[in-house]
């Protein structure tokens, strides 16, 4: 385990600005400038405080599970780690080259074939065309899509596309792998295989945001419990899950594995 933190968040706050539909029109902006005595723009809405004072250090070789209710700030935190959102206050130190956020949502053209998706998605993640060409067979095999890889994506099911995107991400040299509920849409056999592959990727940091406590327990060794934009608990996965299950009267996943 490396002692260098890959990502350090210090007192990170993030507030989402909210724009009302009438404030998103150039017409109303111009009118309020030309006719200031009439009201054209809505009063500014209060921004949503999505994250408040987050302190985190993510170390290489660890797998982190982000748990918490809907709206706790899990996806926002992933977007901050991924670099698409800048904190409104606080600092973030990132020491890595490649980072991927895997989600079931994507604006990829469904007319592409599976093979073209492998090339394009790999290139979007920073690989070259030649490297991706060499990886096509390996990726198709792992994603169990060897037969349908030449078919266009609109003939694929959502689960098949997720499986393919997931396989591409873990086949590349990624320092940080962020997963937002993505494992949910794969079938059980694939999930098991993906877990094995993920466990083998020890050199990197993986952060999974999930509601499935079994997945969190089986895949991760560290837990981060978010609630209302703040970290309630972080540390060893068993400790965090114990505290979380106690509060919400959930079944503790560790007990289930002991029974088995």
């Amino acid at each position: 385990m490396s002692s260098v933190a890959r990502i350090t968040l210090h007192n990170v706050h993030l507030s989402y600005p909210i724009y009302s539909p009438s404030n998103r029109l150039l017409r109303n902006r111009l009118l309020s400038f030309l006719l200031p005595f009439r009201k054209h723009l809505d009063p500014a809405m209060k921004p949503i405080q999505a994250l408040r004072g987050i302190d985190l250090m993510l170390y290489a070789g660890n797998d982190y599970a982000l748990i918490g209710k809907n709206g706790a700030g899990k996806s926002t935190l992933l977007n901050i780690l991924n670099g698409v959102y800048q904190p409104s206050a606080g600092t973030i130190q990132r020491c890595f080259q490649h980072c991927t956020l895997l989600t079931p949502h994507s604006s990829i053209n469904r007319g592409l074939s599976g093979l073209e998706l492998i090339l394009l998605y790999g290139m979007l993640l920073g690989e070259t065309h030649t490297t991706m060409k060499h990886k096509i067979d390996e990726i198709a095999l792992f994603a169990e899509l060897s037969d349908s890889i030449h078919r266009p994506l609109h003939t694929f099911s959502t689960g098949m596309i997720t499986r393919l995107l997931f396989t591409i991400s873990i086949s590349l040299q990624q320092d940080i792998l962020l997963i937002d509920e993505a494992l949910g849409s794969g079938d059980l056999a694939f999930m098991h295989k993906a877990k094995q592959r993920l466990r083998a990727l020890a050199a990197q940091v993986m952060v999974i945001s999930t509601h499935d406590l079994d997945v969190a327990h089986q895949l991760c060794n560290r837990g981060i419990w978010l609630e209302d934009g703040t970290v309630i608990a972080q540390g060893d996965i068993n400790e965090v899950l114990k505290a979380y299950t106690k509060k919400y009267n959930h079944r503790m996943p560790a007990l289930q594995s002991e029974d088995e």
Binding site: I92, F96, Q97, L112, L125, T128
Partner: protein, 276 residues
């Protein structure tokens, strides 16, 4: 690549101007990806048609011939003179109206990809530029056919088209990028842009010649940047050098665009993710 590490590790401490600069730089660096994505996008658009992307040239060719014959009889001009003029003007007009119109919906269309996969905003503008150039090249071949058919002599001047195209794209790139950013925030901008171009077609000498206006109204042409940009492609295809004024105006458009873009990126880049 040490620069990448510097960029990421200093994300919160780097100045907004540095981040804006890195956005544009990283966009240009990933040229292999936007070239591939641009080509795939055109290919997929015409995949189900029998003649593929040749359809682009075919439809433009029909339009030019129809409009050309009507206009030459309206203006009582020889079709051999007016049709090559319309062909060369129309392909350049289509290049920048398609690029700027599509730019205004670009970030909204690729919101998910921007958020989850690649966050260098310049990447998407460069991808759109590739797509527009591929379509332009199809139209260019058609225009070349039309001007040869209508007895315009082939000259070495035609080769000036390529540096002209480069200059035009360098001038349009920052404006397309700016439009993408502003349209993400102001959602009524895309239809406004479309309306401006619909009117613009009639006040720009695409289907008529500036000398038909008369000296009284010549300012409509002189102060119209679109006319100067079109002249950069049109003049060499018709066997002339573009005027120094045309080149100077296009340079002005380019410099103005890049300055405005960097100001806009510096102040608003961090907020684009919240707008889309």
């Amino acid at each position: 690549m040490p620069k990448l590490i510097d960029y990421y590790s200093n994300l919160s401490t780097a100045s907004p101007l540095t981040l804006a600069w890195h956005d544009v730089l990283h966009g240009f660096r990933s040229y292999q990806t936007w070239l591939y994505m641009g080509w795939q996008s055109v290919r997929l658009q015409y995949k189900r048609s029998l003649i593929g992307p040749v359809w682009i040239s075919f439809t433009s060719g029909i339009y030019i011939l129809m409009v050309g014959y009507v206009m030459s009889s309206l203006f009582t001009m020889r079709s051999t003179e007016l049709i090559p003029w319309i062909a060369t003007g129309f392909i350049t007009w289509s290049l920048f109206t398609a690029f700027l119109n599509d730019s205004s919906t670009l970030f909204i269309q690729y919101a998910a990809m921007i958020k989850y996969t690649c966050h260098h905003y310049s990447f998407y503008t460069l991808f759109l530029m590739t797509k527009s150039i591929i379509v332009f090249l199809h139209n260019f071949l058609m225009a070349l056919g039309v001007i040869i058919f209508f007895d315009t002599p082939l000259t070495w001047h035609m080769l000036i088209v390529f540096p002209s195209l480069f200059l035009i794209m360098m001038a349009l790139l920052p404006w397309g990028f700016l439009l993408s950013i502003l349209s993400a925030r102001l959602r009524d901008l895309p239809p406004m842009i479309a309306a401006i171009f619909t009117t613009g077609l009639f006040v720009t000498p695409v289907m008529w010649k500036p000398e038909q206006l008369g000296s009284e109204y010549i300012y409509i042409v002189l102060y119209n940047p679109f006319h100067h940009i079109i002249a950069l492609i049109r003049a060499p295809l018709l066997g002339e050098f573009p005027l120094l004024l045309n080149i100077a105006v296009t340079f002005g458009v380019a410099i103005g665009g890049w300055v405005l873009l960097f100001i806009c990126l510096t102040f608003y880049r961090q907020r684009i993710a919240f707008w889309i």
